[in-house]
């Protein structure tokens, strides 16, 4: 056994008391601060639930065709959605999708600026990178419990946990994409007197777009990977079905809902990837980088 050098109990008490203090004094404020997220989530959820099922299938199938220009993907998406409906998972799928979309949108709004700033300032990258590592490796329960203490069980802590877990790849890939922009093109832009702003919006972001899209794809996937854990604290949706299946030893319920998550993941993965490929072809990146 490792010898006890210091007594960690005071340290632990200090952390626990600190959290309690935060809950008592800042709880309301933090809850108010998170309310726009909740509003967005509920708004998306209501919108999707109010939309007729056939319209959603039509829209997503059309989107899949637009993204890939191939009937195969459109057929796959259509078939997957019908599967969800037939298996009685429609409403839960919508709830899960709403959570995933809200988390992804929030991640896009926050991660892309952070990624751009990281590409620009090396010191910022040195600070943010370990934070991202922490966000990805820290077991989610460790921050879920304080989040539940602050916000109470429900959708908000579930959403926050999903955002924390799903954001890092987008930050990393935005940073990478910006830094990988062809230095010759950047130099040409500089030689013509482009301002930093003109370079960012005219050159860096458009050329980094395929990489950024890959980051968005990763974010959606990781957000879906969080749904079971998120449902433990009241997010509902497919994850809740899985949880109930496990709790009641109803293997079928868990299996079907689990398959539902996989089907959702496949739909969003293929559609975002197809968009990324289309963009990459339009830019012809492979050809100009050789």
């Amino acid at each position: 056994m490792f010898p006890e050098i210091i007594d960690t109990r005071p340290l632990r008490n200090w952390v626990d008391d600190g959290l309690e203090w935060v809950v008592v004094n800042w709880g309301d404020g933090l809850e108010a601060a998170a309310s726009p997220l909740l509003t967005l989530l509920l708004w998306i959820e209501h919108l999707l639930l109010a939309t007729p099922w056939w319209l959603i299938i039509l829209l997503l199938t059309g989107l899949a065709y637009l993204a890939s220009r191939r009937l195969q993907l459109a057929a796959l998406v259509c078939f997957s959605l019908v599967f969800l409906g037939v298996m009685g998972l429609w409403e839960d799928s919508i709830k899960t999708t709403a959570l995933m979309l809200t988390a992804t949108l929030t991640a896009i709004a926050t991660s892309i600026p952070v990624g751009i700033a990281m590409a620009r300032w090396r010191w910022l990258r040195n600070i943010v990178t370990p934070v991202l590592d922490l966000m990805q490796t820290l077991p989610s329960f460790v921050y879920l419990i304080p989040a539940v203490m602050i916000f109470g069980p429900g959708k908000v802590p579930a959403l926050l946990a999903t955002i924390i877990y799903a954001s890092p790849p987008l930050v990393r890939l935005t940073d990478l994409g910006i830094r990988l922009v062809d230095p010759d093109v950047m130099e040409a832009s500089r030689a013509f007197g482009a301002s930093p702003r003109q370079r960012l919006f005219g050159v860096q972001i458009p050329l980094a777009m395929p990489t950024i899209l890959a980051g968005i794809n990763q974010t959606t996937m990781m957000a879906l990977a969080m749904v079971v854990i998120a449902s433990m604290i009241g997010a509902g949706g497919l994850g809740y079905q899985v949880l109930q299946g496990i709790g009641r030893l109803e293997v079928s319920r868990g299996l079907f809902a689990g398959l539902g998550i996989v089907v959702l993941a496949i739909i969003f993965d293929r559609v975002t990837q197809a968009f990324g490929r289309q963009l990459q072809e339009r830019i012809g990146l492979q050809d100009t980088r050789t």
């Binding site: 062809d182 010759d184 093109v185 130099e187 040409a188 832009s189 500089r190 030689a191 013509f192 007197g193 482009a194 301002s195 003109q198 005219g202 050159v203 458009p206 050329l207 777009m209 339009r282 830019i283 012809g284 990146l285 050809d287 100009t288």
Partner: protein, 344 residues
């Protein structure tokens, strides 16, 4: 020198590394490029370079890779800041410009063409050519009109909506050239603009540049590693070796009197027919008009094919008045005379 030079660099030194200032002192004290690298890890890009480029001339800086030529051209629009020295463009001190003044200077005074083209892959040819004007803030319709005119001039009509990656290397560089020309600046910087192209395409582009120059009269600073190219297009050539200008002069001067062994080595491989002008070897005087004639500024290589059909070739001045004539014998004698002893 009657007129103020358009581009002037005085004693420009550029040292890359952690502590350029201390390395600068060592270099000024006589340390060579190799010593600086070995002693302190500093790379001497340019060492006390002075050049001056006159209005409407094509000034070629020629050197092998690592000689500092690309570093040199980037000092003119301050893509690189020098460690020491002075740089004037149109009499303006480039080094004292603020960030805003520098942007304005790049937007309005100098345009640049790059070895690797530097085109925006996500934009059409038309929008690539219009890019510089867009940065300058020219209204959309105006810049697109101008851009399509220049696309026409460089012979890319019909490709306006293509993407750069759909074009060949030569076509891509035409886009780069059109983008620079559309800026309508007096000064054009060309950094190994034709080096990435196939030999045939390259000589086509050289001809085209010379053609355009006859109407545009721009001040062009041209970088190349190809001595033949330097001789072909340059009004004046500076030869750069290890960051030092070893010789500056007209192509003829350099070919006839290379300053050192380094320059002599390039000269030995040169196609003399390209360097020697007919007016330096012709018979001056009044003769009966010849069937075919060339301008006095023509080179021997221009008249050689004519001898297949004709015995005499007339030489005319700028007003197309015949001022002399040449025969094949004179040309052959001239080419043989200028061949170095080592070759004969």
């Amino acid at each position: 020198m009657s007129e103020q030079p358009i581009i002037e660099m005085r004693g420009v030194t550029k040292i890359f590394g952690l502590d350029p200032q201390s390395a600068l002192e060592a270099v000024r004290a006589g340390q060579t490029k190799a010593e600086a690298l070995a002693n302190s890890g500093h790379v001497v890009g340019l060492n006390d370079v002075s050049i001056s480029v006159q209005r409407s001339e094509i000034f070629v800086v020629m050197g092998l890779s690592g000689s500092g030529k690309s570093t040199l051209i980037r000092h003119v629009n301050r893509l690189i800041d020098p460690t020491a020295g002075e740089i004037f463009v149109n009499g303006e001190d480039v080094l004292s410009m603020s960030r805003e003044q520098l942007s304005e200077f790049r937007r309005t005074k100098v345009a640049m063409v790059f070895q690797k083209f530097g085109l925006l892959p996500h934009r059409s040819v038309l929008n690539n050519v219009a890019y510089g004007l867009e940065v300058r803030g020219v209204a959309k319709q105006d810049r697109l009109d101008l851009a399509s005119q220049w696309i026409d001039t460089v012979g890319l009509s019909g490709y306006e909506n293509s993407r750069p990656f759909e074009l060949s290397g030569g076509q891509q560089q035409r886009v780069g050239l059109a983008r620079a020309l559309s800026m309508d600046t007096d000064i054009l910087l060309m950094d190994e603009a034709f080096s990435a192209l196939d030999p045939l395409i390259r000589s086509g582009m050289q001809d085209e540049l010379l053609n355009l120059q006859q109407t545009l009269h721009k001040t062009i600073l041209f970088i190349t590693h190809d001595f033949d190219e330097a001789i072909r297009i340059g009004d004046k050539i500076a030869v750069l070796n290890d960051g030092v200008v070893v010789q500056t002069g007209s192509p003829g001067e350099i070919v006839l009197n290379p300053a050192d062994d380094y320059v002599a080595e390039f000269v030995s491989d040169v196609n003399k027919a390209r360097v020697i002008h007919v007016d330096s070897i012709m018979q001056r005087g009044e003769f009966e008009p010849c069937d075919v004639s060339v301008q006095a500024a023509s080179r021997c290589e221009d008249v050689l094919p004519i001898f297949a059909e004709h015995e005499w070739v007339g030489v005319t001045d700028d007003d197309d008045k015949q001022i002399g004539r040449v025969t094949s014998k004179q040309v052959i004698a001239a080419l043989a005379r200028y061949t170095p002893a080592s070759r004969s």
